[in-house]
């Protein structure tokens, strides 16, 4: 899949709370095919403290308007600077990067936590386009930390788990009543302990499982070898071989 380096214009911005915001970016020309789970490397303009691009997963793609949306959690200087950008400003992206989710299975569960819900919207739409309605289980410490909720509703059965019980069932996603059902594929993105718990459940029950990792990156294209995960075949670049991996390749990582 060919990669591009190109400018996008910010045409939409939503601020959900102090932690989460989204930017909708438009390109003047037709977008290439973008797989769910792929990401962009964004140049952060106007902050001398930030030199490297920031890897951010693609939340949504609209091929009619040539737009893509990034759902971003403010975690440091780079994402804070991005959160201060306005509609009309330009962002330079290297994209689409990495290896996305496979769109397979008939009884499908998507499990997202925190910022990890970002790639699951595009993934839900990809399943929906194939006539499959997944169960979409989204978790967070409280309702306000699950920034995107109703956007998922047209594409599957949406359920929530919050640690404080402010939305959906109280507890972790892995304690949710819909979690242990008879799925053939589970797709997950979110905090590492959550993904490991989901993957362990899947592996021990013979369910196909794909996890999307989020390691620190420099280049995003497999050149610097900084973002490696300790896979069962040795160190693999999350940016190039991932960010989505079949859990079977990561048993070292899952059990560590």
């Amino acid at each position: 899949m060919k990669k591009y380096i190109t400018n996008f214009k910010i045409v939409g911005k939503r601020v959900f709370n102090e932690t989460y915001f989204s930017l909708t970016l438009q390109h003047p020309e037709k977008l290439p095919e973008i797989a769910a789970g792929q990401f962009v490397e964004v140049e952060v303009p106007g902050n001398k403290q930030v030199m490297l691009r920031r890897p951010i997963s693609i939340h949504d793609v609209d091929t009619d308007s040539n737009t893509l949306t990034l759902l971003v959690q403010v975690v440091g200087k780079g994402t804070r600077t991005l959160s201060e950008m306005s509609i009309g400003e330009t962002l330079n992206l290297v994209y689409p990067l990495g290896h996305g989710f496979s769109i397979e299975g008939k009884k499908v569960l998507l499990v997202g936590g925190g910022a990890g819900i970002a790639p699951l919207l595009h993934l839900s739409k990809c399943f929906s386009a194939k006539g499959i309605k997944p169960v979409i289980l989204l978790g967070g410490r409280s309702a306000s930390l699950i920034p995107v909720q109703k956007e998922f509703e047209p594409y599957g059965t949406v359920a929530f788990a919050t640690e404080d019980g402010s939305l959906g069932e109280k507890g972790l996603v892995t304690q949710h009543s819909l979690f242990p059902a008879d799925y053939d594929h589970i797709y997950t993105c979110g905090p590492t302990p959550m993904m490991k718990a989901v993957a362990r459940h899947a592996l021990s029950n013979g369910i196909e499982c794909e996890v999307s990792l989020e390691n620190m990156m420099a280049c995003g294209i497999g050149a610097c070898l900084c973002c490696v995960v300790d896979s069962d075949e040795g160190h693999k670049c999350v940016c190039k071989e991932g960010p989505v991996f079949n859990a079977k390749r990561l048993t070292n990582w899952i059990n560590k």
Binding site: I5, L52, V94, C219, G222, A223, C224, C226, V228
Partner: protein, 299 residues
Amino acid sequence: MLETKIHNLTLKNPVMTASGTFGYGEEFADFIDLNRLGGIIVKGTTGERRQGNPYPRMAETPSGMLNAVGLQNVGVETFCKEVYHRIKNLDTNIIVNVSGSSIEEYCKTAAMIDDLDNIPAIELNISCPNVKKGGMGFGTNPDMAAQVVSEVRKVYHKTLIVKLTPNVTSVVDIAKAVEGAGADSVSLINTLLGMAIDVEKQRPYLSTITGGLSGPAVKPVAVRMVWQVAHAVSIPVIGLGGIASAADALEFLMAGAKAVQVGTANFIDPAITMKIIDGLEDYCKRHRISNINDIIGII
């Protein structure tokens, strides 16, 4: 206008890519015409496959980054059997960075690369700060540096570039020692040994605690060392360290480098090398310079 020479190699222009920042070149093929480059220094290659250091391996620092990759690579045999055949027909100088932990390992790797028709040179890495044994150890002592170079010289018959570490008291002494041992060229600088601490987590950012600093932060140190070495040796000097623009490249050329390598800047703009080549052409036109060699070493 931009053509330059390093020993027996003719470079279309002085712009090469630095080892460890450009993979095997293939990673950048979507963004640039690799054949426009003066050369590609491919990833540090060792006698056996290496897994490198544990994650986390990088941290962003002011105008730079620390890395501690630790020479993760497929090993020389897989390089010769597989990687070489994917890249051998590129119309540029493909140079292999040869790394190791012992003189025997350096010699084994160099001898195998010597047999590859389309690899006109190696860059002997006696300066990697991120491996426990060898690496930078060879490059910090003039006698050890001379010893490894003279042993490799016996088994390697093409252009031998030696990459120097800045983590020494006198880089000139090391440069003279490797010149005396038979090096055809020196490249400098490798990364500066550095460290950064995450104060919230109260632990270092890197799994190895220390790592190599690169990026614009190191450029003035690199220019100074290139200038010192270029005045002290008669073999060609290749300059690198923080180059991110044509003006940066010109600083190194004026300080005495016959060619330059672009490293960390490739991570920020994968097309940066083309912009630097275009910028050098533009500079020569603006200053009515018909041959880039006319400004090399003018300081």
